[in-house]
């Protein structure tokens, strides 16, 4: 089942064109009410399906653990300036430290997280929204959920 919570009833993505659309049926719009703007807030909030917080949290942590046990998480890794990239299974690492250690070994240079540094290569990643971010800001579990590819930047560039 897909993980997105885009349940705004008036967004076309969640309404199949073959089903009777609620916006086509006789909605009482005599007051010209527009659909509340909070629907977009709801897309990212934790209120559907209606399960209690503890169960929701348990499912989240089980999901991540299952992913780690069952599926490899291969992502491409590029070093800036080097045209040929590598592939890395992130599920084999326990956290940022072991990832950095491995990358430093793989690319034969020192790779660090965060703080731009004139001397070291800094690790960045592309998240599921397509944005390039600094590695290390979010908890490891959350990082695994969102990372799509990695890039090791040149020292001066960052």
């Amino acid at each position: 089942m897909e993980n997105s919570n885009s349940y705004s009833p008036y967004s076309s993505s969640s309404v199949d064109s073959t089903k009777p659309s609620p916006s086509e049926s006789s909605v009482n719009l005599s007051l010209s009410l527009t659909f509340p703007s909070t629907s977009s807030q709801r897309e990212t909030s934790q209120d559907w399906p209606p399960i209690k917080p503890r169960l929701r949290d348990t499912l989240k942590s089980l999901c991540l653990r299952q992913r780690r046990y069952n599926t490899a998480l291969f992502v491409k890794v590029y070093m800036e300036g080097v045209p040929i990239g590598r592939k890395l299974d992130l599920s084999t690492f326990s956290g940022y430290e072991s990832l950095l250690e491995n990358l430093s070994h793989m690319f034969d240079t020192s790779v660090i997280c965060g703080n731009r540094d004139r001397k070291h290569h800094v690790l960045t990643y592309q998240d599921k929204d397509g944005d390039w971010m600094m590695v290390g800001d979010i908890p490891w579990d959350m990082f695994l959920e969102t990372v799509r590819r990695l890039k090791i930047t040149r020292p001066e560039r960052c």
Binding site: P20, L31, P36, T38, S39, P49, L55, L59, C63
Partner: protein
């Protein structure tokens, strides 16, 4: 000649009247009966903490021993009520401490309980015995320590799904060595590890301990030693069920389970590994209640477990059980009364769809003659399935179906699920609680209004076409007590036309609907005995009357407007500058 019964005689007679419904009737007979009744009532239930003031309750029932309170509306369980809305326990504890010294039992649900509250309880009520907090928040483990250290005759301490600021496991060590009266302990919602030796000592000096629900941090190894100390347990919630144990430890644990001859209820089982499921076989035949909602066990292992549970009455399980597993339940668990199936896929746990459809529930409805309560999360459903279920089980009293994709039609006919729900309300004449989902038109609500005469609680999400839906419900459902609605595109007309109905109900919740600001003001003016709360995180002063509000919560009350409303809760009493509009809403 004075024909009145002497009050002592009346008191004696009333001591046999237990039910509060009866006592409420008694109190209406005449003044002296009112007086005698109120002085002798021992248990008080206030199902909406804002319907009446704490002082009024404490003054009326000075001899009460037990108080049960509910605070936030039900949808607070699903994060629909913003933090800080209300539901504070403090004024109640303060009032009871001042006027009701005999209080020894407190049961709170969805309330904000602080450490100060817990300290006050510990300090005010000698001989305090029972504290049960369900879905409460606002306190830390320090507050628990205060209760543990002071309540020397404590019998029950249960924290059910509370959100607790966990400062460590020390609180358990505060139970004095002299405390031997413990009957029930539930700390399953806490995260920190408690000291095993303290827990073992507590358990071994509690011969009356019947219910023990551990938290996840208690290891499997520790469980073994605890079970050996308390083989008399009737209810057990295990901790984590996944540590790797050596052969000897496993056989010791197996032995411990087989010694538990009284065990009726089993829960916990976090992370249970399939190889440990056989450890439970010896207790299965005696179980009447099994909660596997945290056990991500696959169908084959679940089947092995459930075929042995012939006396099971209550089963909570994840949809990993699949249709096949539910067929096994239908043939093995003939005493089943309550079934809840939760969605493992809710947080992306199962990227491939679990093989559970409407067929699973149909099987159970066929095989289990005593089935009366259902909560079923699934991906799809059909009208035909609901018709079959209704035909099989007209004895259903609670039917909560959550088809998770909003607006899903019958997946075979592509029709709305109107006819299915019609069958349910038509056939199940004693239905008291109903949750609907899937694609529904106004017809569904016409049926519910026509047939749902005993319906007390109704939950609706993403449904209906227009105000008629709400009108059918408010005008048709005679016994309606609680109505909660989210994401349905209407509100005004039906609300205003059926305003009087709202005084016969405990509460109405509507969020992300199209209830206008003007309608709220009008309703508020029309119905002074209701609190009409607009819960909206955007400022209202500059809003036109036609603009929709985020949430409304309407409830009847004797207490008038409450004094603890946060910024984002608006009422015409609190915010008179808003005033009442003269806009006529048709």
């Amino acid at each position: 000649m004075d024909l009145r019964l002497p009050s002592k005689v009346l008191e004696h007679i009333l001591s046999f009247v237990d039910s509060n419904e009866d006592r409420n009737s008694v109190s209406l007979v005449c003044k002296s009966w009112f007086e005698t009744e109120r002085r002798t009532r021992k248990r008080v239930f206030v199902r909406n903490c804002y319907a009446v003031t704490p002082e009024a309750v404490a003054r009326r029932f000075p001899e009460t021993r037990s108080l049960t309170l509910k605070g936030k509306p039900h949808f607070a369980d699903y994060n629909l009520v913003p933090d800080g809305w209300g539901g504070y326990a403090w004024p109640w504890i303060e009032a009871m401490a001042a006027k009701c010294p005999s209080l020894d039992e407190l049961r709170l649900k969805r309330m904000v309980v602080t450490d100060e509250c817990l300290e006050k309880i510990a300090a005010s009520f000698k001989d305090f015995k029972v504290l049960v907090l369900t879905s409460c928040e606002g306190f830390s483990t320090d507050g628990l320590a205060a209760i543990a250290v002071a309540c020397s005759n404590l019998r029950e301490l249960e924290l059910r799904e509370c959100i607790v600021e966990d400062l460590g496991g020390d609180w358990l060590s505060y139970f004095p060595e002299t405390l031997t009266s413990l009957v029930s302990l539930d700390f399953s919602c806490l995260d920190s590890e408690v000291k095993l030796s303290d827990l073992e000592r507590l358990v071994s000096r509690s011969p009356n301990l019947k219910s023990l629900k551990l938290n996840r941090a208690v290891s499997l190894d520790a469980l073994g030693s605890l079970l050996r100390l308390a083989p008399q347990l009737v209810e057990l919630g295990t901790g984590s069920f996944s540590d790797k144990l050596d052969q000897e430890a496993v056989s010791k644990l197996s032995q411990a389970f087989s010694e538990m001859k009284e065990l009726k209820s089993l829960s916990g089982l976090w992370d249970v590994l399939p190889e440990y499921i056989p450890l439970l076989y010896s207790v299965c035949p005696g179980l009447t209640s099994l909660n596997l909602s945290y056990a991500t066990v696959q169908m084959p292992d679940l089947v092995e477990l459930l075929t042995r549970c012939s006396n099971l009455q209550k089963l909570w399980v994840m949809d990993l059980i699949e249709d096949k597993g539910l067929e096994v339940v239908a043939s093995s668990c003939k005493e089943l009364r309550e079934l809840r199936v939760f969605p493992s896929g809710a947080e992306g746990l199962n990227d491939t769809n679990v093989a559970m459809t409407e067929q699973g529930l149909v099987s159970v409805s066929e095989g289990c003659p005593n089935l009366e309560s259902v909560l079923y999360f699934c991906v799809q459903f059909t009208n035909a399935a609901m018709v079959t279920i209704a035909r099989n089980r007209p004895n259903l009293t609670c039917f909560r179906l959550c088809v998770m994709e909003p607006f899903s039609p019958d997946h075979k006919t592509q029709q709305p699920l109107d006819e299915g729900f019609k069958a349910i309300v038509e056939r199940c004449k004693d239905l008291q609680r109903l949750s609907v989902s899937g694609l529904l038109t106004n017809k569904a609500f016409e049926y519910i209004g026509t047939h749902g005469k005993k319906l007390r609680m109704l939950s609706i999400a993403f449904a209906g076409d227009s105000d008629l839906m709400l009108h059918h419900l408010l005008s048709g459902c005679e016994s309606l007590n609680k109505l909660e609605i989210r994401d349905c595109p209407f509100g005004d007309t039906a609300l205003l036309e059926n305003a009087a109905k709202l005084e016969t109900m405990r509460s109405l919740w509507m969020s992300s609907c199209c209830v206008s600001f003007g309608a709220c003001k009008l309703l508020s003016q029309k119905m002074p005995k209701l609190n009409v709360e607009v819960i909206d995180e955007h400022p209202l002063e500059t809003r036109p009357d036609s603009s929709p509000v985020e949430r409304i919560y309407i409830y009847r009350t004797l207490a008038g407007p409450r004094l603890d409303m946060p910024e984002f809760v608006w009422t015409t009493q609190k915010n008179p500058e808003i005033g009442v509009s003269h806009l006529a809403i048709k």
